[in-house]
């Protein structure tokens, strides 16, 4: 029996050694780099181009799930097994990465290499890379949403294509005329498709904010914010031009890349839709789709939500100097032209959007609306965020209240008041926990610091 166990033990050790030896190594002579980003065909091409331009590197993608990406990067990096570079999707994520200490401050490195971020990048995307005047992330692209129109559905309804600027009143009347019902009276083609998570866009459009300018208070209960959410709710339940949660479930929305709303729009189930230029990465696969783009209707405020990715270098990466080359690649012409050609939103660097190829992509001559995308970025504003509350905690609270509004279970003013109160309570808890934030908070608010 002893011999049996001894042999088994030896075999297990041997198998472990074999497994260790079989571990995939980078091609000889190449420096491996790992990038955590969302997985999609565009990203693969961006990696291939980098590997082609920099044959000394072997860049690989570690796919990030849309909902569970940040914590994975953070925990792996703190444990010393993190990626070399990773993407942040918004100012709140950047803040979390900076506060956890895993984001490398690249301000001086970029300056040494002659990269002037603030002078070259669309201002709307800068908050995704810059925190307290220090650069941590290099903006990789920028998106601002507009209204997609399906020209064939407009033609079928005998409607003229809208041209901006236009008002919400005009929009609602048009969308109502574009609704098509089946024999049972159910809407089979919606005038307008919009994901509910686009609510921050509407708050901006109505002149509201989620947080006060200094981030010390949640102000989602302001009259403007309430009006915005009420408007969104009314698009579903009063005007019946936008899908309700039940309709959304019918679309089997799974979120993320190529999500339900995009595919639903591509399949001709909606005449107009709120989305970004990056939708083309999916919509180009739908043959015969005749598309147009018009800016979002607005009243007095002409502010649109800007979002995108910024690539951050892991402070604990043993190859962080090499990783800088990847960021410099993102600052270069080849990468930015590829972003525009792929329609992975827009190039973050302004000048690459002012080329003839951007306006008229020879591979896609039907896309004659690129000027609209470039114009709306000028009015882009980054998401509101507060350094005094964890972005995910705040979102959990806000989404709970917005869920109740979305399912028509709670009046908007009450939901927004409760949301603001709960987020402000969370801010108070965070201040109690974090002395550095407490000092900053009292400095900003001018209040006495309690003993």
């Amino acid at each position: 029996m002893k011999v049996f166990f001894a042999i088994t033990f030896c075999v297990l050790v041997l198998l472990s050694v074999v497994a260790w030896q079989m571990k995939p190594d980078p091609p000889p002579g190449k420096i491996p780099l790992v990038w955590v980003s969302d997985d999609n065909p565009a990203r693969r091409q961006q990696i291939a181009l980098f590997n082609q331009l920099h044959p000394e590197y072997d860049l690989r993608l570690d796919p990030r799930a849309s909902t569970a990406g940040m914590e994975k990067v953070m925990l792996q990096s703190l444990a010393g097994v993190g990626p070399d570079v990773f993407d942040a999707y918004g100012p709140s994520e950047l803040d979390a990465f900076v506060r956890s200490g895993i984001a490398w401050d690249i301000t001086d490195e970029l300056a040494k290499r002659g990269v002037d971020l603030e002078g070259e990048v669309w201002p709307a995307i800068l908050p995704t890379g810059i925190r307290e005047e220090r650069v941590y992330g290099f903006p990789a692209n920028v998106a601002v949403d507009a209204i997609w129109i399906n020209k064939d559905l407009f033609d079928a309804a005998g409607e003229r294509y809208p041209e901006g600027p236009w008002t919400w009143a005009e929009f609602i009347e048009l969308a109502k005329r574009l609704n098509v019902r089946d024999a049972r009276g159910r809407i089979k083609q919606f005038g307008f498709l919009c994901d509910w998570w686009q609510w921050p866009q509407f708050i901006m459009l109505f002149g509201g904010h989620i947080y006060s300018e200094d981030g010390t208070r949640c102000v989602i209960d302001s009259p403007e914010a309430i009006e915005a959410i009420q408007f969104m709710r009314d698009l579903m339940y009063k005007h019946h031009i936008m899908p309700t949660p039940v309709d959304e479930a019918t679309m089997a929305t799974m979120g993320g890349w190529g999500s339900g709303t995009i595919t639903y729009f591509g399949a001709g189930k909606g005449a107009m839709a709120l989305g970004g230029r990056w939708w083309l990465c999916t919509l180009r696969d739908y043959e015969g789709l005749n598309l147009g783009v018009v800016e979002i209707p607005h009243e007095e405020e002409r502010i649109y939500r800007a979002y995108g990715r910024a690539t951050i270098i892991n402070r604990y990466s043993p190859r962080r100097e090499d990783a800088l080359n990847f960021l410099l690649y993102q600052a270069g012409k080849e990468y930015n032209d590829l972003i525009n050609q792929q329609a992975d939103a827009l190039a973050a660097i302004v000048r690459y959007n002012y080329t003839p190829e951007f306006l008229h992509n020879p591979e896609h001559p039907e896309e004659d609306y690129n000027e609209v995308w470039r114009d709306v970025v000028k009015y882009g504003r980054s998401d509101d965020w507060s350094p005094f509350v964890n972005g995910q905690t705040a979102m959990r609270i806000l989404n709970k209240q917005l869920d109740l509004v979305k399912s028509d279970q709670k009046p908007v003013p009450k939901a927004m008041r409760d949301a603001a109160r709960e987020v402000n309570e969370e801010i108070a808890k965070t201040l109690e926990m974090d002395p550095s934030l407490r000092i900053k908070y009292y400095r900003l608010t001018g209040r006495e610091r309690p003993e």
Binding site: F5, E71, R99, Q392, S407
Partner: protein, 327 residues
Amino acid sequence: MRRRHELRAALGFLLPNLIGFGVFTAGPVLFSLAISISNWHLHRTVAFQWIALRNFVELLHDRDFWLYSINTAYLMLGIPVAIAGSLFLAIVLSQRLRGIVVYRTLFYLPTFTSGVALMLLWKALYNPEFGALNAAINWWLDSLHLNELVQALGGGGVSAPTWLLSTKNMLGLDVEQIRIIPGQWGLGARDALIIMGIWIAIGGNNMLLYLAGVSNIPPELVEAAQLDGAGRWAIFRNVTWPQLAPTTFFIVVMSFIGGLQGGFEQARVMTLGGPAGTTTTISYYIYTKAFEEFQIGYAAALSWVLFSAIFVITMINWRLGHKELHY
């Protein structure tokens, strides 16, 4: 000399297991106990401090903790139904039927199928518009003209539930406060998860345990009862059920433990804890606090409260259940 030699050999065999237990179980458990009295946060700006029982005190005032505890308890309402279903199925499958092995395999299928795949399947079944479940309910409502009937009686009409999109529930529990309100009465996401849980559990390990229990009942007991003229129900009540008491006791204890720890996979795959937090259980809340909000110390305290609840409930089960065991 020989004794010492044997002891050394025994320790040698036990050592790999003890090392594994120490490193991967006992160590992390003790570590989590230690950090539950700290403010450990993954943000470096929060300086690490020992804060004694402050996490536990805060937890008592955390309204979400209580709401999610209620969600956890609510989802456990399916346990008695699942146990009864497993018992029924085990008795049926213990009969000498043709192709019984095939039936047993089919009923056990959900247990060895990927949980995520099953959940995605159920998500499709619960689609309010195109799901098979609502298609059946709507057909039934139309066939019996129930809608017209309720409207004629002055009611607001009857419609199929929206399942995973609805905060309604069988007890009428409010979403934001610990109270019952009539407006919340109905079928919603929580009930959808209960139904799915029952479906998975009925043909699962509980059924196997009962099947083993049923096959271990001495046949002479059943024969004696039959000779005394006992019918099927009398045999079940007076022979089968008492003989299965130890199995039932084990299943109840394990189901309670599983129920208190459960809900994570369903929340992660099907609902993300929504709508409005109604399918967030304590285990999902622990995950959220630790890995989304980075409050590791607080999450550890939550884990220990959950452990204590499981321990106390298991002890109560043990005390009460043990008395009922007849042999």
